[in-house]
């Protein structure tokens, strides 16, 4: 029964996003912007999967996922900018010329090649997560302290990225790209292609996360969430497991960021400010933590709501989000998916008159 429901949900999901939406665009019903917007939401959903792994399953509230997301975005942005500069015949990107920089900073060099850029976009967040995680988990920092430290770290990185001296475009970020691998970013078919790639990678990421959470590894993660000391006394090296899941979550966030960039055409440090990093956690909280479907649906739904609300009542989005969050915390702590589950249970309870156990 349960697997049937799941399969139905997957088929529906794929039908809507892989067939219905592209078909709507090809038949002229939807604008290419709608496609691109959903493509961006998929990127958020990929990052949300990582948050669900580390927070929903392992119980570690990491507030630096937005930073990992930005590392992925910035890497691709640097590559695209260098490509554009080269085709224009210039040596340095415009903003560097304005800042009176004469030579390309050393850390920009590897981003000349697309392959290196891809590798570094994943490698840098992974190494960063490994080092931060190693220090934090070894000193047994957990709970709210973990959240505060990772949030402070994100804030520090945000301040660094804001500075012009960092040579990453400062407040304005990196923007104004023209092509990716020779394909013009403004063309509709490239946008559709990026949308499809994002969708496929989202499905792949979901599949991997599903496999991870259903393996014994995933059970150890949940065991760490429930009773970390018992896990240690059962001879599992908790630090190893936490580190592994932290690195995986960072990779997922970075992958989301990498796909996000060519579809938005701009990355600024605003993507990793405090608001952005809290918002990312909220997607998972509202969707239902400890539930991979919840993370994906949460990310898609909240962002969809965001685009509706910001066009209808531009000033009140944060109030709406805050209100939703309060309601979720107070009444359905398992989020949207938990709400659906309890409605389903109540429905079947009234239909079959079976006594339900409550706790």
């Amino acid at each position: 029964m349960k697997t049937n429901n799941n399969t139905l949900l997957y088929i529906l999901f794929i039908a809507v996003f892989a067939i219905l939406l592209p078909a709507g665009y090809l038949s002229g019903l939807l604008s290419v912007n709608t496609i691109s917007v959903w493509g961006r939401y998929f990127c958020f959903a990929i990052a949300a999967l990582g948050i669900d792994l580390i927070w929903g399953y392992t119980g570690i509230l990491s507030m630096c996922q937005a930073f990992f997301f930005c590392l992925g975005s910035y890497g691709i942005a640097m590559h695209l900018l260098l490509k554009k500069t080269a085709t224009a015949g210039a040596v340095l990107p415009d903003f560097m010329a304005w800042n009176k920089i004469e030579t390309l900073p050393f850390f920009w060099q590897p981003f000349q090649s697309f392959g290196w850029s891809l590798a570094l976009c994943l490698l840098i967040p992974a190494v960063f997560a490994f080092i931060v995680g190693f220090v934090l988990f070894r000193s047994r920092i957990k709970g709210v302290y973990m959240a505060i430290i990772t949030q402070a770290l994100t804030l520090a990185m945000w301040l660094i990225f804001l500075r012009n001296e960092t040579n990453l475009g400062g407040t304005n970020g990196l923007t104004d790209f023209s092509t990716i691998l020779g394909f013009p970013l403004s063309s509709s078919s490239v946008k559709l292609g990026l949308y499809m790639i994002s969708f496929v990678i989202l499905c792949g990421a979901y599949f991997c996360c599903y496999k991870i959470t259903h393996s014994k590894f995933g059970k150890v993660l949940q065991a760490i969430r429930d009773s970390e000391s018992r896990v240690s006394y059962t001879a599992y090296k908790v630090v190893d497991y936490k580190l592994a899941v932290f690195v995986v979550a960072a990779l997922l966030a970075a992958a989301g960021g990498m796909l996000y960039l060519p579809q938005t055409g701009i990355i600024t440090p605003g993507r990793m400010d405090v608001k952005a990093s809290v918002e990312m956690v909220m997607w998972v909280a509202l969707g239902g933590r400890g539930n991979l479907k919840g993370a994906v649906i949460g990310a898609l739904l909240v962002n969809f709501l965001y685009s509706i609300c910001t066009s209808l009542f531009p000033d009140s989005w944060l109030f709406i989000l805050g209100f939703l969050f309060v309601i979720t915390v107070l009444y359905f702590d398992k989020g949207f998916m938990g709400l659906i589950d309890s409605i389903k249970q109540r429905f079947s309870a009234t239909r079959f008159k079976t006594p339900q156990t409550t706790h």
Partner: protein
């Protein structure tokens, strides 16, 4: 001797929680530790399993010092712990609780690519039968009754297959019938494992204490002897009853 403890002391904020001159345990011995509240019984087990760091002293297990080792190293060396307050994984099913506990390679990659074998399933099943958990195998551990959680935690320790089991108040919150069953189980386990049991329930202690009983009082070892000796020792009676009597007398 399997376990040797000498001059072990630990204090919390200036208060001596434990000041144990000597303690030793034979292989496959079942030892009961009794003592009034605050005698340092749980603290003693906490130090052995690595939860609490000792200030000074030495503990050797199988000839190797285990003081200062991490919980995981101590668990790998063959020491399993059951806590006073049941410590299980409430969000996982009973079967998964047992699966995680079972002795096997426990690094990340072994867990990621783990495949269950019939031998392992049999082993889990046989332990579950012993502890009457077969009916609740697919229930969440958090939904079990208190007694069942106690048994589940004992099952977790048994599946780890440790040389030494540290069992803290296994009969707490159990009915008489459950208590007796737990006692019989511990006696059976002691054929293959060394066990240290902390208990308050004297009827239960009488049932399982076929060998020595150690009495701790205010962090020190008061005496060691058979249950009959301990029961009739005036000092033991005093420390359990004396103070109450003294209070009554002053009234």
């Amino acid at each position: 001797m399997l376990l040797n403890v000498n001059n072990l002391s630990v204090s919390f904020g200036g208060v001596h929680a434990l000041n144990l001159d000597h303690f030793s345990l034979r292989d496959k011995e079942l030892r009961v530790i009794i003592g009034p509240n605050g005698a340092g019984k749980s603290t003693f087990l906490d130090i052995i399993c690595g939860k609490t760091k000792a200030d000074k002293g030495e503990i050797t297990f199988n000839g190797k010092s285990i003081l200062g080792k991490t919980e995981v190293q101590i668990a790998e060396a063959g020491i399993g712990r059951k806590f006073q307050k049941p410590s299980v994984f409430p969000g996982l099913s009973v079967y998964d609780n047992l699966l995680l506990a079972a002795k096997m390679k426990k690094d990340i990659f072994s867990s990621l690519f783990f495949k269950s074998t019939p031998a392992l399933a049999d082993r889990i099943h046989s332990v579950a039968v012993k502890l009457s958990l077969t009916n609740v195998m697919y229930k969440l551990a958090g939904d079990l009754s208190h007694g069942q959680k106690q048994w589940l935690e004992i099952a977790i320790v048994v599946l780890q297959d440790p040389t030494l089991m540290l069992i803290d108040e296994p009969a707490a919150g159990m009915s008489d019938e459950e208590t007796e069953k737990t006692g019989a189980l511990l006696l059976e386990l002691s054929k293959a494992h060394s066990i240290i049991v902390i208990e308050h329930d004297m009827k239960f202690v009488e049932q399982i204490a076929n060998e020595l009983v150690t009495v701790l009082v205010r962090g020190k070892r008061l005496m060691e002897g058979t249950f009959a000796e301990v029961k009739n020792d005036q000092r033991v009676i005093d420390c359990y009853l004396g103070r109450t009597n003294a209070q009554l007398e002053t009234l």
